[in-house]
Symmetry: C2
Subunit: 317 residues, 2 copies
């Protein structure tokens, strides 16, 4: 494990988990927003230090035992039995916290990718995955893989299992666009989980797994009609919709503008919509924002393709 | 709608519904066993008559208002506003009844395909589907599509929805083989349904839809390892296994012989196993049969590829 650079700067993408029908098993990366993470070798200590966080209004911990980014990197260094230099990290949050866009995942994926960018022989996404999941555990108490796997691998992923973790990259149609609208509301993931029923009807579950199968088939076969028909969540969205003021109307606005489907991004409150055209994706965002406006809720719109790259190296030396 | 033949004979394949994780949404056709259905135009009456049934030990109704084959054909004739001649049908059961191999579906698909074989311009599988589902309603009280869709379309299908019915053909690896072992036991579909819980854990449902997604991706991407990992049913098999004496051991025998997966075919009692090689598929069948033997249960083994054709015209004039 040899370092050939002493500093690097990477961009790690935001991610949409669940993607409608795929609660806890589907995730996709989007081109924007995302986090920038910078790393420098620091030979004067052997630790991981977080020397700066911007864009978080002072809300994230600089304590490296608590920050998701440093926890993820510490886990990786331990797993590869790293005995060398220490590292300084700077996290530049370029996306909202608690938005349902995988903010913590972007930071831990960013830290791992930044370290990876220093290496002569970079590690694969699979080799970084468990460490990124440890970052999630630090952030929300549970080592979920849906956001971090999408962030590390890029594209659309199915998390078939968590034990052991089994990530299946799913190719997507080239003209698939994602519009994300982030309302100026903050939801706690724990709240979003608490509204879910622990038991569900078998008959409803059957409908859900039919749609998961349909969505996977639609993506792989580039069948936009099938994607559209499968983008229905019978289980989670009906429970969580009430937590997001205006959800029903905002979703309606997206569908009226010819979205293939729309639902809650992760645990919310962001709402995403899929569409088959860049111009349409932009209009969908405008309509969704207008709809939030009618509830006196300000919002931010992000339009992008499905990110195919995972983290990107912005600079290194 | 013009008839250009006066008689036809078709073969309609047996089908495996559920296919492990895909309760009520997945089905596949196999090359054998199946039913033969013969049809003749009969201008002396305007009805559908069942003039002969063989291979059923006298258990199936000759009454055309009750037999699944004639009910399906009657539904089709009504839906196309047929005003012409009547038809005589003969059903040659070449597969066990109540076996979990879609016996009723094979007969109704066979009758529809036999009529279709007489036409100048045959109807598509989609156009026959609702009528075949009516045959299922006559047979078991519920217009399920999993067996009839697999039988009509051939291959592997996802039934994404029943209302309206939405059948998604899923291509499969060429070297995918199916071994079916039918023990000399008879289960009633109603009994098999009654052991199922109406409510299931959300956490277990999540595992199930992850596997449905994985199986669809594995089939479409021809990834045998992924098919293997996804062939796990957390919900139905654990409840129904107890209805089939020896199930646990027979499945173990299949897996020990390198099956990709094994589970209950439809509502049982037949057990199917998937594998990636014809020779292996045969050996798997032998091992499964030996295992049933050790419980003093006689069984019949069928080894075939995934049927890619649906019904086949054997003869017409």
């Amino acid at each position: 494990m040899k370092l050939i650079y002493t500093s690097a700067s990477v961009f790690a993408p935001a991610t949409v988990a669940n993607v409608g029908c795929g609660f806890d098993v589907l995730g996709m990366a989007i081109d924007k927003p995302g986090d920038q993470v910078d790393i420098q070798v620091n030979s004067t200590h052997k630790e991981i230090r977080i020397t700066q966080i911007t864009g978080d209004d002072g809300r994230l911990p600089l304590d490296s035992t608590k920050n998701t980014a440093s926890v993820a990197l510490a886990h990786l260094l331990e797993s590869i039995k790293w005995k060398g230099v220490g590292f300084d990290l700077q996290i530049h949050k370029q996306m909202p916290l608690g938005s349902g866009l995988g903010s913590s995942a972007a930071s831990s994926v960013g830290a791992l990718a930044a370290f990876n960018a220093l290496l002569e022989t970079p590690l694969s996404p699979s080799q970084l995955l468990l460490s990124a999941m440890e970052g999630e555990r630090a952030a929300c108490g549970s080592a979920h893989a849906d956001n971090v796997a999408a962030g590390l691998f890029g594209g659309f992923v199915l998390i078939r299992d968590h034990d052991p973790v089994d990530v299946i990259p799913i190719s997507t149609p080239e003209n698939l666009y994602c519009t994300v609208v982030h309302p100026d509301l903050e939801l706690n993931t724990a709240d979003s989980r608490s509204v879910l029923k622990r038991e569900i009807d078998l008959a409803t579950a059957v409908k859900q797994w039919a749609n998961v199968g349909g969505l996977i088939a639609g993506l792989l076969q580039k069948d936009l009609g099938l994607i559209r028909r499968s983008m229905v969540d019978h289980i989670i969205e009906p429970r969580r919709a009430a937590l997001i003021p205006g959800f029903v109307e905002v979703k309606k606005a997206a569908m009226a503008a010819d979205a293939l489907g729309a639902s809650i991004s992760g645990a919310g409150p962001s709402i995403f919509a899929l569409s088959d055209d860049a111009k349409k994706a932009k209009i969908i965002g405008e309509r969704m924002q207008e709809s939030f406006n009618s509830f006196q809720i300000a919002s931010e719109v992000f339009v992008s393709r499905i990110n195919q790259n995972g983290p990107i190296i912005l600079d290194r030396a």
